[in-house]
């Protein structure tokens, strides 16, 4: 219990008098729905509640952060950095991004689910993934493999797995499970009520073990392919320049295709296949062995 609490009472857990919760994730994951559930529980418990998030562009697969604040009389609608008692994150990277909100003694429940943003995969040749690996969880973070904890509750709808995190938070708050069930019923789509409540209960019962390791296989780079162009056969039709996914080719001042950016080439051979004059050859034989050796048994 890390929220500012009243004097301990005879109850099992002291009731918080105020608190800040940040729910984070990727657009489409149900962040806003989850924060609606949390807000409903707090409101039904008699708190003044304010909740704020930004709609609009961030829903298009971007970062979504919802702030929930409760207390006797809440003013600001957003949580100041370093003051969140709980962070609930539906996605690993978004959990890390939201960590600056967390108070010193705060707890972040972060799903180990990864949603790789297209921007993290822009090194098409080298294959370096711009996504935070997690060998160990940062301080204050409880990493939860939501899909594993949810089990068959998320079999039909993968998004249901994140309701596990609501259960994890609920286990730290002194509100009865029925209050959460009621709130879940009133906010999730009717068809998904039962599986959400199952996932919630599994999250509530879940005892987080040692920090979960996130799998991330090492990247084995291979050298760029070599695109050789028979200049005498090239008539400057521009097809290869237009089709190259990495824009490696250009026409020179004689309208002959040249391999201008070998550092970007992934060796896809599209230019070679589509050249009407068979003027392009892509060689990467030496690398084949390299790749197979690196991949090992699959």
């Amino acid at each position: 219990m890390s929220a500012r609490t009243a004097e301990p009472t005879s109850e099992k857990e002291a009731s918080p008098v105020s608190g800040n919760i940040v729910v984070a994730g990727v657009g489409g994951q149900g962040v806003i729905m989850a924060s609606n559930v949390i807000a409903q529980v707090l409101l039904d418990a008699g708190f003044d509640v304010k909740k704020s998030e930004v709609h609009g562009m961030s829903q298009r697969g971007g970062t979504v952060v919802s702030h929930v604040r409760f207390g006797h009389d809440v003013h600001s609608v957003t949580v100041e950095p370093g003051t969140a008692d709980w962070v609930v994150a539906f996605e690993w990277e978004e959990g890390l991004r939201a960590l600056p909100y967390l108070a010193d003694e705060g707890v972040a429940f972060v799903s180990t689910e990864r949603r790789l943003p297209p921007a993290s995969m822009s090194d098409h040749r080298g294959g370096a993934l711009a996504y935070p690996a997690a060998d160990a969880s940062p301080r204050g973070v409880v990493a939860i493999d939501t899909a594993a904890v949810a089990g068959d509750a998320a079999a039909t709808r993968a998004a249901v797995a994140q309701t596990v995190l609501l259960g994890a938070v609920a286990a730290r708050l002194p509100f009865p499970a029925e209050a959460w069930h009621t709130a879940i019923r009133s906010w999730v789509p009717p068809k998904t009520v039962e599986e959400n409540i199952t996932a919630f209960e599994r999250g509530r019962a879940h005892k987080p073990a040692s920090p979960t390791r996130l799998r991330q296989a090492p990247v084995v780079a291979r050298p760029p392919a070599l695109v050789s162009i028979e200049a005498a056969w090239c008539k400057g039709c521009n097809i290869c320049v237009a089709v190259c996914p990495e824009r490696c080719l250009e026409l020179d001042r004689f309208d002959v295709a040249v391999f201008a950016h070998p550092e970007r080439c992934t060796g896809c051979q599209l230019c070679s296949w589509l050249c009407p004059d068979l003027a392009i050859d892509v060689s990467y034989q030496a690398q084949e062995e390299h790749v197979h050796a690196a991949a090992g048994p699959r």
Binding site: V26, L43, D48, V49, K50, K51, S52, E53, V54, G56, M57, S58, Q59, R60, G61, G62, V74, S76, V77, T78, E80, P81, G82, E93, E94, L99, A103, R115, P117, P118, A119, S120, M121, S122, R125, G126, G127, L129, A130, P132, P138, R139, R215, Q216, A217, V220, A221, A242, P245, E246, T266, G267, C268, Q269, W273, V291, A294, A295, G296, R298
Partner: protein
């Protein structure tokens, strides 16, 4: 107290409904959109005529007309939408109203979903109409009701100015009941008031100036402006969301909270200033109040400590008070490892029909004048095929300008969505034809206003309540404007889209390509059979990654480079475009996938 939390936008809708409105209109724009949507949900069709307008100016004109006939009218738009309505707004105060007219301007400090962060309090003052500024949902509800009363009492349109945080934040509120108003009594002729010929307008301007003078007295006594005297050491003048952040961060300060940003209660400000040692204005965006206070000859601080751009979050208010020496520096939170999170910009949805036209344009190395909508996201990598974006409907005019000035060796193309085309693209297209400009206009027709969450527009045959309505035909509009070359193509057919755009850009004069395919997300989520990668055929060429589809990601477990890809079945819409891009035919429908391939794959 309500048993549920209402957003500021929902509170405005409820407040307007309870104020007895019978007409509501607007154009979608974040953060204003939910007002009309919520209103359509909570009000019976017989009570309120709610419908999206073609653009904000049309919406305001409809509203002024309805107000002249005696109806109470709400009209909603985002801050930049007010610019579109500006022509009508500036003169609307001369005509006045009979039924109350409230214009909601939803500003977007921090530009969460906008191209600028203009402060529309100035617009209200410029047009000479009262500006109401609520700070939370309860005030949004109360102020909109008050604004309707003021509008009728003073024969003026009123502006209700919100910001993203007041519009979208949820808090509880106590609501009253709907005011029963007599039905609108019809239009009464009054040319000297309603026909703004110069002779009449001159008289109306004088009337308006005199009325604003009298309104100053009203502002002095409006209960929406309130003093809270606490410490005499420091007094803060504030408004809107900044009020709550001041109360949060500096609870002991005396506060003058201004619920009316125009006209300002000058005597009240003077009285408040006289009671405190040090006077500070805390306001989001421009130094609007600060300049006004200084104009009264009162010593005041403000933007010296607080930023003029972005949202005035509690942390920014705290920093400002720290700089001003009113708060001790807060000890920094125990060091946490700097978050290693990379950027996650919004992207086009899986299956978005806007992707392929931009792939085709990139292949042509076209100079692309873009516009406002989801497709503006095609400006970012990996598609990166948009070169300009200015304002609603600007793409066509800018393309004409680019082509007039000359762009040697590159086709000049405007890309514009269906809703934006009807909003402000049609006059520009007529202009382009008349000038014989060499431009291609690609109308990205997904049958919805998608960026704002999926609102119908006059180009589709449904209304906001789901009712069937007549619609404008984009292809016929283009032909009627004088475009001879109008091609309609399905953007899911990559080859046909490439061909149509290539042929259109090769033509002289204005050519139009309409890419027609319903938005994958709205009004219904469209899902076909999902696609999968046959791992043994994928050689990591990354051709599909050029699409930027969020459902396609690297198979990071395979540990090879270039990385093989896989498709997240829970995100795939089955649009088939990646399968068309794959040179190895490694991407297939799950129905085509042979079991052996599945066994061999690393999935």
């Amino acid at each position: 107290m309500s048993s549920t939390l209402l957003s500021g936008n929902e509170a405005i809708a409820l407040g307007a409904y309870h104020a007895g409105i019978s007409v509501a209109t607007g154009y979608p724009g974040t953060p204003s959109t939910e007002v009309l949507e919520y209103l359509a949900r909570i009000s019976p069709a017989g009570d309120v005529d709610v419908e999206w307008a073609t653009n904000e100016k049309v919406a305001l004109d409809v509203a002024v007309g309805a107000a002249l006939a005696g109806a109470r009218v709400l009209v909603t738009m985002k801050h930049v939408g007010v610019n579109v309505a500006m022509d009508s707004l500036m003169t609307s105060a001369f005509l006045g109203v009979r039924g109350g007219l409230v214009v909601m301007s939803a500003d977007d400090p921090g530009m969460h979903s906008s191209q600028n962060e203009q402060d529309n309090r100035y617009v209200g003052r410029f047009a000479g109409i009262p500006v109401f500024e609520p700070a939370d949902s309860q005030e949004a509800y109360d102020f909109v009701r008050a604004a309707f009363d003021v509008s009728e009492e003073w024969d003026l349109p009123c502006m209700l100015r919100t910001t993203t945080r007041t519009s979208h934040a949820r808090s509880s509120l106590e609501a009253g009941d709907r005011l029963e108003r007599p039905a609108a009594s019809g239009f009464e002729r009054n040319p000297s008031k309603y026909v703004m010929l110069p002779a009449f307008a001159r008289r109306r301007h004088a009337v308006h100036i005199e009325r604003l003078e009298r309104m100053r007295e009203w502002a002095e006594h409006s209960p929406l402006n309130a003093q809270e005297i606490r410490s005499r050491d420091v007094g803060v003048i504030t408004s809107g969301i900044a009020y709550h952040n001041v109360r949060e961060v500096l609870p002991e300060a005396s506060v003058l909270k201004l619920g009316v940003a125009f006209p300002l209660p000058e005597d009240l400000i003077r009285r408040f200033a006289a009671q405190v040692q040090r006077l500070i204005v805390v306001e989001e965006l421009e130094p609007y109040l600060e300049d006004e206070v200084r104009r009264l000859g009162i010593a005041v601080e403000g933007k010296k400590w607080f930023p003029r751009d972005g949202e005035l979050s509690p942390e920014e208010v705290r920093k400002g008070f720290e700089k001003a020496g009113l708060l001790d520096q807060r000890p920094p939170a125990a060091a946490r490892p700097a978050p290693a999170a990379g950027p996650r910009p919004p992207v086009l949805c899986p299956g978005c029909p806007h992707s392929t036209p931009f792939l085709a344009l990139r292949e042509l190395d076209a100079v692309v004048a873009g516009d406002i909508g989801c497709y503006t996201l095609a400006a970012g990598p990996p598609i990166a095929a948009m070169d300009t974006c200015l304002a609603m409907g600007s793409s066509i005019g800018m393309a004409v300008g680019l082509s007039l000035a000359g762009v040697p060796g590159q086709p000049v193309v405007a890309t514009i969505g269906d809703s934006t085309f009807l909003h402000a693209g049609v006059p520009a297209l007529i202009d382009a034809v008349h000038r014989q400009a060499d431009v291609t206009v690609v109308v990205l027709d997904n049958g919805i206003t998608a960026m704002t969450g999926g609102q119908p527009h006059p180009g589709v045959s449904v209304g906001i309540r789901g009712e069937t309505l007549p619609r404008a035909d984009i292809v016929e509009l283009c032909r009627a404007a004088g475009v001879h070359s109008v091609t309609v193509v399905d953007p899911y057919d990559l080859a046909a889209t490439r061909r149509a755009i290539r042929e259109a850009t090769g033509r002289r004069g204005v050519s139009v390509v309409v890419t027609t395919r319903a938005c994958v997300e709205a009004p219904v989520k469209s899902r076909g059979p999902v696609y999968t990668v046959r791992a043994e055929l994928c050689d990591g060429c990354q051709a599909c990654m050029g699409l930027g589809c969020p459902a396609i990601a690297w198979d990071t477990d395979a540990g090879v480079s270039p990385p093989r890809v896989r498709i997240d079945a829970s995100l795939c819409s089955g649009c088939t475009v990646c399968a068309q891009l794959c040179p190895n035919r490694a991407i297939v429908s799950v129905h085509e996938e042979v079991p052996a391939a599945a066994a061999g794959g690393a999935l």
